[in-house]
Structures are given as structure tokens and as C-alpha cells.
Symmetry: C2
């Protein structure tokens, strides 16, 4: 609930108050197009992850470029996208708890909704709720293909769960969710490729077992910005869920790029101002950890090899500078956040800039939607 | 912009959807009272830091218990408190940039506003703006008393700056801001005491130099939850700025308590639900790093020594469990956040609970106010 916006359309970039979350529209549009090109003519569809942007304006552009729908990570996150006219959403998470399931059923009465399960009880609860409300629901089995977080192991547990889903008519068994999250930030391209080769083999084996039991596995969905070319080329996955590719962040930039990887560029920045220059070699900016999330490490100062962002407190960022004079008090800098998703979640608006002029403010309508 | 609230007044605690930010009102009120008692009859006043709570309902209760005013960390953060009737706010930061100074002057025309400086140019800019708008402004010199962040060194730089401020009539030289932030989380009580003894000596010496030059240093302000008894007892500080004491967090609880320290209790929790139980020894909850900030380390699971919160991704928290069966799928747990300030900044409301019943939802009105 920022009491005033950082800028207005028409402002020049130097007039944007700081800290502000800046989206460079030319770069963003190139990233959008690069992903669309990367799957053109292939038997793989896109369902970009909206947890990265939480912004209906962006989701609508992803759909316009051919995405089948979007992913959300939470039930409440999906609501503003449905309000904006998105009609096909996969919630890439287990949904547990009476309140949350009631909300999910309400959404499923207005849009095509998919959800993950990895336990019998989730299927029972979902089936009972769907039956009582009279809605259909796509159910995906989450398979742990190497991330070690949620999901059933590959193989027979998934077969049993698929059979249970198929026996509950308000539910439709839609496929397997096989996201290998821990592969996304492996620095070496070979490591990422091998991790996805293993994940794809587990996904294929699980699909084969389920289909041998007489059920169709229509969709195998997964992939993130770090690995998507490998899932695309696997012959196993037929739906990709990258989120960060539109923005890119420092953590993704730290991956070594492999030969076939798509060359996404940084489009998201936190504009900041030097507010104190207390000692030679030290500058303090007005963007701290409430302006740029530090869970995946510090931001970097864009285009400035002479300046390093050392540490963050709530509203201060301490920079080490090679030069005693620059950057000077009042200078404006651009930071590339360490992790884009939680950084976007700190702001009410993306300040969209094209060639130095603010073109629009896009509401981050699902900011804070954790339920 | 959560599309719906986690609870309604009158709900029992088990009905609160998750993740949700819970304030235990009985404990919160005890913490409020403990701080008021800690300064009773002493020549030290309270100006609690509102960056921790961003919530006018809480600021009004702090004022009602005797606080002289509040601190804010940003100009935009102050606005909703002024709207709620708070009339005395110290912005504990440098304010740099035309847009931000314009906003500051607007606030100063409706409330008593103080602000920090550590550079001549900030004084010049502030004086010019205050003159042109016709408002008075309290100016505090930030002195670096050991934190190594912003601030002038103790001694003669502060004297020169005080003289400059005193020569600019719309500005009023109010005192010294001597916050030793890096002492707050020193684990040993002796280390904290010694750090504040050094800070107080630097503050006193700087005051003496300025007063020798014929200017009055009315206020020496600083202190946080980790050290406030030492500033209180220093004979140097006459205003204390603790913020986290109302909530307490895991990072503060990790401090060893010294003999004279005030026994604040955890009043802030993130309620979460086990949404996946994928393997023996592993549970996954629905509160990840968008529900509990991890900049100061992982949260802890309240009252459960058999469960450890290992790692967080956006909307998942992975727990290691001693037992293969408990906590079970669907179980509700309470987390104590690693760092309260940025955790509060993720939510739109505090769900205020008393003896198991939701009593109120308090808007976190300054959430996201980074400008």
C-alpha cells in the first residue's frame, strides 16, 4: 500500500523516485519472443509461471504469444488472473485445508483449473469438494524427479494415485508434474543437462507404468528458466513452465550458459539512489532488503564493475566502491536483484520503461497472495 | 493485494487460512507494557520504530503508553501514520532526491517531522526546500558510533554540520542520531554492553564538542531491542527507538539474555499447514520465503523440538521431522520468523488473536512503502 506511486507515465527515467521496480519493455518483449521462438514448430506447449511476475498484464502477453495458460503457486494467486480473463490455470502445488479447497472450488467454477496431488487424502478431499460443488478439476500427480521436495517417488505410487483419481469422476487425471527445481541453478550446463536427463527418464518410466495400467498420461509438465531447453528436447515433457525468463536475475545470470540455451537478458531492475557517502570506499543506497530480496544473495550494480553491493539491512544497501568520489551522493544506480520472484512480491507496481520514458505502471495484482 | 483475508473476527485459530501472520494480543500487550515499565521514572523517552510493524493500530497503542512519537525509515512509510493521527515522526534516514524531498515537505506541513543528515549537501537541499515551502524541520546529525553504515564520524565533522544546520533558520538542529545497529544481534550480553559503552562515549564526546561550540544538543537518540537497557542506563542517550520488542523474532531470541535485559516474548507467528508428507523425515509446509523472510535465517517451528525448518523456496518450506508420522498432512504449525520486520512487510494484515479467537485484522498500512 505505497501511499504514492514512484512515477507517472511520461516521466523520464531520472524522475522515477527510488527505490522502484523497473521493467525495460524492449528487453522484456525480446525475452517473451525468444521463449515463443524456442518452442515454435515443436510438440511442446508453454504454460509460463505467473509466480514470478504476479501481473495480469504480463500473463495476457504470454497468452497472446501462444501460451496454453499459466501456472500459479497458490490458490489466491490465481484469482486476479481469472479476474483479468485468463481461463486456464495450473496451481503447481498441493492444496490442503478446508478454507483453501473451498476457494479453489469457487475458482474452478469460473475457469479451467488444475492442481497437484502427492497423497491419497488430497485426492479424497478434492473429490469430495468437487462433487459437492459440481465442478470438474484437472489433477496432476507430482512426481519427485530429483528435487527432493514434494511429490511421490517415480513408479508404482504414482500408478496407484492415478487409478484413484480416475475412479473419482469429478476429477480428471491430466498428467504428471515433474519439475526439477534443484537443477535450475546448477552452474554447469552439463550438470543441468544430466539432471534433466535423469528427471525425464523418471517421468517416462512413470508414464509407461501408468499407461501399462490402462490410463492415458496426457501431459508431462515441468521445466524452469535454467533448464527449459533440455525438457523441450527430451521427447518426454510436452509442457514447459518457465517464469523468470521474462526478467532474469543475478542468480540465473550466474549460471554458465550452455550452447543451446536461450539468451534471455536482464529486463528487471531496482532503481536506487546513493543517499549517504560516509567514507571513502563506502556508499549507502536507499534499496535494502525490503527493496530487493536477498534470499539468493545480494543484487549486483548494473553496468558498474567499480561498485559492489556488500550487504543489505531493511532500507539500506552498503556498497563498496573502488573510487572515493563515484558514485556520488544523489547518483542513481540500477540493481539487478538476486532473485526476481520475491523481489517483485515487494512492490505494488512495475514501472515500465521504454527508451528512457515511463510508458505504464502495471499493477502486481497478486502481490502478497500467499493463501 | 490478497484477494481475500485469511480470517474474520470471531474465527477460531484453527479456521485461519494459511500462511497467515498472527499477532498474539495478550503477549503483544505484555511486551508493550514491559517497555513502558523499563523507562518509567527515568529521564529517557520512547520513540518506537514503526518500520517493524508498519501498522497505525500498533503505533497508537505505543503512543497511548507514553511514547513521544515514532520513528519511520522512509518518507512514504510515515504517510499512513500521519493519516492515523500520529503527529511526531522521526525519519531515521537521509532523504535524498527531489521527489522524495518534495514529499517530505508535504508531510512536514501536517506533522512534526525530523530527518537525519550526514552531509553538507543534504542540509543545503533540505534548507532550500523547507524555505520554499515554509515549513520547519527537525534535523538530527547521524553519527557513526560503530555500525559502519551511514553517519559522520564522531567529533569535528558533526560540529561543522551542526553549525551549518543552525545557520539555516527553517531547519532546527535537534540532536544526534547514534544508532549502533551492529550491536543488536551480538549474541553475548557483554559484547552488547561494551559496544553500547563505546557508542555512548562517542555520542557524549560529539555532544561535548558541539556544545563547546555554543550549540545545544537536545536529543541523543538510538537503541534497538537488543541493547536498549544499555542506552537507557548510559546517562547519554535520552531517547530510545526499539522496534522489534513488540514481536520478537528468532534472530533476537538467539541473543543470550543478560541480567538486566527486558524479558520480551514472541508475539508474532506465521501459521502454516503441512501440505505434503512425501517421505519419512520430511514434511513440506505452505509457508516459504514469501511468507517468512529468510534474510536472517530460517524460522523455527514454535513448541516443536521434533521438527526443524530446513529450507525455503518461494511458497514451500521443507521441514525435517524426527518422526515419520508427525506432523501429519494437514497439521497446522506456528513458525517464529527469522526476522520480523521484512516478514511483516509481506502481509496486508496482522491477524490478531486472543486466547484462540481472532479479535481483529489490523491493516499493515505502510507495507511496501519503500519510497
Amino acid at each position: 500500500m505505497t501511499p504514492w506511486p514512484a512515477a507517472q507515465p511520461g516521466d523520464t527515467i531520472d524522475r522515477i523516485d527510488t527505490p522502484a521496480l523497473i521493467l525495460d519493455l524492449d528487453i522484456f518483449e525480446r525475452n517473451l519472443q525468444r521463449l515463443a521462438n524456442a518452442v515454435k514448430g515443436r510438440d511442446v506447449r508453454l504454460r509460463p509461471h505467473a509466480k514470478s511476475h504476479k501481473c495480469p498484464e504480463i500473463a495476457l502477453r504470454q497468452i497472446a504469444l501462444g501460451a496454453a495458460g499459466i501456472c500459479c503457486q497458490k490458490v489466491s494467486e490465481a484469482a486476479p488472473f481469472i479476474d483479468a480473463g485468463i481461463t486456464d490455470i495450473l496451481i503447481t502445488n498441493q492444496v490442503v485445508g478446508t478454507q483453501k479447497i473451498d476457494r479453489l472450488m469457487h475458482l474452478a467454477s469460473t475457469a479451467k483449473i488444475g492442481v497437484l496431488v502427492d497423497h491419497v487424502r488430497q485426492v479424497d478431499d478434492m473429490a469430495a469438494a468437487a462433487m459437492s460443488v459440481g465442478v470438474a478439476l484437472d489433477i496432476y500427480i507430482e512426481v519427485d524427479v530429483g528435487a527432493g521436495r514434494s511429490g511421490v517417488p517415480p513408479g508404482r505410487d504414482a500408478v496407484a494415485l492415478a487409478a484413484l483419481i480416475a475412479s473419482r469422476p469429478p476429477l480428471r487425471f491430466a498428467g504428471l508434474h515433474c519439475y526439477q527445481g534443484s537443477a535450475q541453478h546448477m552452474r554447469s550446463p552439463q550438470d543441468r543437462q544430466q539432471a534433466i536427463a535423469r528427471a525425464a527418464a523418471m517421468a517416462q518410466a512413470t508414464k509407461d507404468e501408468i499407461e501399462s495400467a490402462g490410463m492415458k498420461v496426457e501431459i508431462i509438465t515441468g521445466a524452469g528458466t535454467g533448464t527449459l531447453v533440455h525438457e523441450r528436447d527430451s521427447g518426454v515433457y510436452n509442457e514447459l513452465q518457465p517464469g523468470s525468463y521474462i526478467f532474469m536475475d543475478r542468480d540465473y545470470a550466474d549460471n554458465q550458459r550452455g550452447d543451446g540455451d536461450v539468451a534471455f537478458e536482464h529486463a528487471l531492475f531496482v532503481k536506487t539512489t546513493v543517499m549517504s557517502r560516509p567514507a571513502p570506499g563506502r556508499a549507502v543506497v536507499d534499496a535494502g532488503l525490503k527493496a530487493s530480496s536477498v534470499d539468493s544473495g545480494m543484487p549486483v550494480v548494473w553496468g558498474r564493475n567499480d561498485v559492489r553491493y556488500l550487504k543489505a539491512s531493511d532500507e539500506h544497501g552498503v556498497l563498496a566502491t573502488d573510487d572515493a568520489m563515484t558514485p556520488a551522493l544523489g547518483d542513481q544506480l540500477m540493481l539487478v536483484p538476486g532473485h526476481c520472484d520475491p523481489t517483485v512480491n515487494l512492490y505494488d507496481h512495475l514501472v515500465c520503461v521504454r527508451r528512457g520514458i515511463v510508458e505504464a505502471l502495471w499493477p502486481i495484482a497478486a502481490r502478497g497472495a500467499v493463501l
